[in-house]
Symmetry: C2
Subunit: 333 residues, 2 copies
């Protein structure tokens, strides 16, 4: 088993407090952030499997459903969609996963008793420490990475379903072991999970390689608008409201399209203009590294990170494209 990362005594104390929190209670509500992604859903079912091994009772619940592509997760069917099904009672022992603040829990807060005790397990740097006990490591790639540490502290018996849940969170929150959060510790845990029988190929295939029908139709439309300028250092695509309607695309289907222009060899800044209402465009900025697109987006009232940012502008498509590309052009010079 992989050794714990150097985390100092604070983290060890947190681990120990989290262990006590779980040991001393018997009935839990386990909740992750609304519209759960791979790490949130993987973490939820992993905590469920831990509680099962410890002989505890629990309910797993979310605002929003587990995405269809995560339905393979062990016990995924048991995760209650609070919007649709609700809960019959309130809970006073809550394990809250992958939520930077309690607004991320959504309406499920209504299922907490007034004096509910919350164990807050998360990896987001912006976590505000809500709840009674915190288990937060902001340099973890995913919440499942923290759960791995917690499960080691419990000396839990590892098995294939548990390993699948952990691997899913690592895989999705690191973009398939490609983001800069892919530390040696992440890879070492992934190796252990594969050793426990996880089918990494199948998971990568279903979670990262597969496109929805609407996604590929939208990509086709978006690429048909691909435009280059400034010696191919700037490239952009456009998606209209009509494109979204015609392809039946949801925001989930839309994911990833913004990266295509930036990922072209030689392109320094990639843009995506998405019509969200009449004369209203959401602009996605992606940088290959040289241009700080957070600054650019900020100059239009938006924000984000150095390599990925966004803003919303009003005007005709032509006006918006001209405005934004001119400012990118200045930044490129």
């Amino acid at each position: 088993m992989s050794t714990l990362p150097i985390a100092g005594s604070t983290y060890d104390k947190q681990l120990s407090a989290a262990k006590t929190f779980i040991t001393e209670r018997d009935h839990f509500l386990v909740v992750a952030h609304l519209h759960p992604d791979g790490d949130a859903a993987g973490s939820t079912v992993a905590v469920g499997l831990l509680l099962e091994q410890l002989g505890k009772t629990y309910v797993m619940v979310n605002e929003g459903s587990i995405p269809r592509k995560l339905a393979f997760l062990p016990n995924a069917d048991d995760v209650v969609n609070y919007e649709e099904v609700g809960l019959q009672r309130k809970y006073n022992s809550v394990i809250c996963i992958d939520c930077a603040d309690d607004s991320r829990i959504g309406d499920v807060r209504d299922a907490f008793t007034e004096d509910a005790q919350i164990l807050n397990i998360d990896h987001h740097p912006t976590n505000d420490g809500f709840g009674s006990v915190s288990l937060i490591r902001t340099d973890a790639a995913a919440t499942v990475e923290i759960l791995y540490d917690l499960f080691q502290a419990f000396e839990l018996t590892w098995n294939q379903p548990l390993a699948t849940a952990i691997y899913t969170g690592l895989l999705t929150d690191t973009g398939g072991f490609r983001y800069s959060n892919t530390t040696p510790h992440v890879m070492a845990i992934a190796a252990e999970m594969l050793r426990l029988g996880v089918d990494g190929h199948e998971l990568a295939n279903n979670l990262l390689e597969k496109s929805s029908f609407a996604h590929i139709l939208l990509l086709k439309k978006a690429l048909s608008t691909l435009t280059f300028s400034d010696n191919n250092r700037l490239a952009w695509v456009m998606v209209t409201a009509a494109d979204m309607a015609e392809t039946g695309a949801t925001n989930e289907d839309f994911e990833g399209i913004v990266n295509y222009p930036r990922n072209i060899d030689g392109v320094e800044v990639g843009l995506l203009f998405k019509e969200t209402a009449a004369d209203t465009y959401k602009v996605g900025f992606r940088s290959a590294g040289k241009v700080d697109v957070a600054q650019l987006a900020k100059s239009f009232g938006g924000g984000g990170h150095v390599r990925a940012a966004g803003c919303t502008l009003n005007g005709t498509l032509d006006d918006v494209v001209t405005q934004v590309t001119e400012r990118v052009r200045s930044a490129l010079q």
Copy 2:
């Protein structure tokens, strides 16, 4: 350091013979297969770094150049393109890497003396055991995985450049840790290489995320021909010779396009029709798992694997598409 996989005494003996081969000689020619990919190029420079540590002299040479996107590899500039530069002398100690048979060495064979001794290091199941000493493990994901074992046997001092070379081979031959050859041992080695300072994010970005300009233009053209049939269980795209010419695409730029139709949710068989000459089409078959496309391709005189196969057909595009899709339709039923 990760432990060696269970390989039995044959592999251990091979390791020991390979070690002796290198120890007993002083001057080497190091060659990988023509038109080297990430594993071939990574292996080549890794062997160079080993020989350097051992105080040996060597020349690295290939038929064809190291692809531009692999130019970051340590000492990549020192790999001679035999076609362009040639060699001044012949060599009688050869380390041959990632070549299933000696035809894969290409014209570089002309630089071997008649009595040349060859150490054949490879992971291809079809390796015919050419050469004097073989170090072959066909369940290795990449040749660099075998080199890792060899370097451990040499008790070599690991460093960041060496780790980068090894990581590159693992990353590219496993499709970014996504193919079924991504074993726990592969992931454990990757974890160690990251610990040695490899920038996994940068490598993934440059080797897997980036598209060439010609690739994206070709993708745009290919997707504009995307056609579905049989309740979206069959999908295909077409690429004409004119498309290739207009976009300036080489075969390298063409890579990956065949996977788009198959990767769509619900699609069981994806096809790509590529015009290679007048009335001549190369057909790429990809299966999501249920249909054995090797059988289909074979029925047209081609071949391949269960999930990836190909054949070449003569006729007009319409004829070829009709012929192939009808046979796929039968297989889907």
